[in-house]
C-alpha cells in the first residue's frame, strides 16, 4: 500500500529530469504536471521533439524530487518510461511559481 504522507524536508534543490521510452502520449505532460503540483514542486515540463523524450525542470525538497521520479517512472498506462535521468541544475533564472507545461512558443 502506498501511504499518502509527505515528508517535510526543507532542503530545496533544482533538477533536470529526462524521461525516455515510449512516452509519446501527449497526455503524459498533463500527468507529470498534475504530479508536480500535488508534490508542490515549481518548474516546467516539455516535450523534446528532436530527442524523443520528455524533460522537466523541477525545484523542491530532495524527498519530493525522489517522489516525482518514482511516480513518473510508473506513469499512466499509455506510457512506458524506460529510463529516468536526473541531473542537478544551477538555476539562476526565474522559476515559475507552480508547475506548468511549456509549449513550443515558450
Amino acid at each position: 500500500m502506498i501511504r499518502d504522507t509527505q515528508p517535510l524536508m526543507m532542503n530545496r534543490q533544482t533538477e533536470l529530469f529526462r524521461f525516455s521510452g515510449d512516452v509519446s502520449d501527449p497526455d503524459f505532460l498533463d500527468w507529470i504536471c498534475h504530479r508536480a503540483n500535488r508534490l508542490g514542486l515549481n518548474g516546467w515540463v516539455r516535450k523534446n521533439a528532436a530527442g524523443g523524450f520528455i524533460e522537466a525542470l523541477a525545484s523542491g525538497p530532495e524527498e519530493l524530487l525522489d517522489a516525482m521520479e518514482l511516480g513518473c517512472s510508473l506513469g499512466p498506462i499509455t506510457v512506458w518510461v524506460e529510463t529516468v535521468v536526473r541531473c542537478p541544475h544551477d538555476s539562476d533564472g526565474p522559476m515559475p511559481n507552480g508547475f506548468k507545461i511549456l509549449t513550443q512558443a515558450d
Partner: protein
C-alpha cells in the same frame, strides 16, 4: 471479461498436497473457473476443469499447482527448498477480499511492519527503513529487493529478543512473493517464506503461506499460528484498501522512497501485461 494470456498461462496454487485425502475431491475456483483436485486410489493427483478436461499439474513446495491455460514455462525455482536441515511448513490458505496483486504488494511492503505488526515485526520508534536496492532482473524476469535491514522486536517464532533483521524479497511470478530473512537460530542463514496466491476473481483470493526454516525447536502448530496471526493483521489492512484493484497508474497516490519496491513491482506487472487484478486508469 477476457483474462490476459500472461495471467491465464501461469501456475497457481490450488491445494496443499499433504491435505488431499485419497478419493475425496476438492474444488477450488481459479480466475472464475472451477477446478477439481483429486488424489486417486493409485496416489496420482489430477486436476480437472469443469468441462472434464485435464489441467496442467506441478507438485512442488508442498502445494499442488495448476493453470486454466497452458503454461509454457516450468514453475519458478526455490533452490533453498532442496537444502538439508530446513523444516517445510505449509500454513494453509487465508481468504482475502482484495486483489491478488494487492496481497503480493503488501507482502513486499517493508514500511508497514511497525504499523501493522506492532511489537512483533516492527515497533516505534524504529520505523525508518534504511535505503535498500530494488531491481528488475531482466535475465530471470523477476523483481528483487535486497539489502533491506530492519529492527524487529520478534522476528520469528524462534526469536527470543529484538534484533536487526536482514531481508530480501523476490517476485518470481505476479502472484508469488518470496521473502528471505535472517534466521534467528542461524544468523548466517536465511529463513525462506513464500506467499503463493490463487486469484479467485480480480478482487478475491486465497493466499497460501509456506516456510522453509531453520528451526528445530518450535512445534508445527506454533509456527503455523505465528504466521497466521501475522497474516490476519495484514488481511484487515488489505480488505480496507481503496481501490480494491492494484492501480497501475499512480495518479491518485503519492509514492515516496519507501514505496520503491511497490513501484518496481507495478512497473514489472505493467511491462508483462499482467492486468488481472489491476486497475489500469486511475479514477
Amino acid at each position: 471479461m477476457t483474462i490476459s494470456d500472461v495471467a491465464r498461462n501461469d501456475w497457481y496454487p490450488v491445494a496443499i498436497e499433504n491435505l488431499l485425502i485419497e478419493g475425496q475431491p476438492e474444488t477450488v475456483v481459479l480466475m472464475g473457473e472451477t477446478l477439481t483436485i483429486l488424489r486417486a486410489a493409485d496416489d496420482q493427483i489430477k486436476v480437472t476443469a469443469a468441462d472434464g478436461s485435464e489441467c496442467p499439474l506441478t507438485l512442488r513446495y508442498g502445494h499442488v499447482w495448476s493453470s486454466i491455460g497452458r503454461p509454457e514455462h516450468a514453475l519458478f525455482d526455490i533452490p533453498e527448498a532442496a537444502e538439508e536441515g530446513r523444516r517445510m511448513v505449509d500454513c494453509g490458505p487465508v481468504r482475502v477480499k482484495a486483489s491478488p496483486l494487492r496481497v503480493v504488494e503488501n507482502f513486499l511492503d517493508i514500511a508497514h511492519f511497525p504499523f501493522v505488526h506492532t511489537d512483533i515485526l516492527g515497533a516505534e520508534p524504529h520505523t525508518e527503513v534504511e535505503p535498500y536496492k530494488v531491481e528488475i532482473r531482466d535475465t530471470v524476469d523477476e523483481v528483487w529487493a535486497t539489502k533491506v535491514r530492519f529492527f524487529q522486536p520478534q522476528a520469528a517464532k524462534s526469536a527470543e529478543e529484538g534484533q536487526m533483521t536482514d531481508y530480501m524479497y523476490r517476485v518470481p511470478a505476479p502472484c508469488v512473493s518470496i521473502l528471505y530473512k535472517t534466521s534467528p537460530p542461524r544468523p548466517g542463514a536465511w529463513d525462506v517464506i513464500g506467499l503463493f496466491v490463487r486469484p479467485i476473481s480480480e478482487e478475491l483470493c486465497d493466499a497460501y503461506a509456506w516456510m522453509a526454516l531453520y528451526d528445530e525447536d518450535s512445534n508445527q502448530t506454533d509456527l503455523v499460528q505465528f504466521q497466521q496471526m501475522i497474516f490476519l493483521q495484514d488481511r484487515s489492512i488489505l480488505e480496507n484498501q481503496i481501490p480494491r484493484l492494484l492501480p497501475l497508474d499512480p495518479k491518485m497516490e503519492i509514492p515516496t522512497r519507501a514505496d520503491t519496491t511497490s513501484v518496481a513491482y507495478r512497473r514489472w506487472l505493467k511491462r508483462k501485461g499482467m492486468t488481472y487484478g489491476a486497475q489500469l486508469v486511475a479514477r
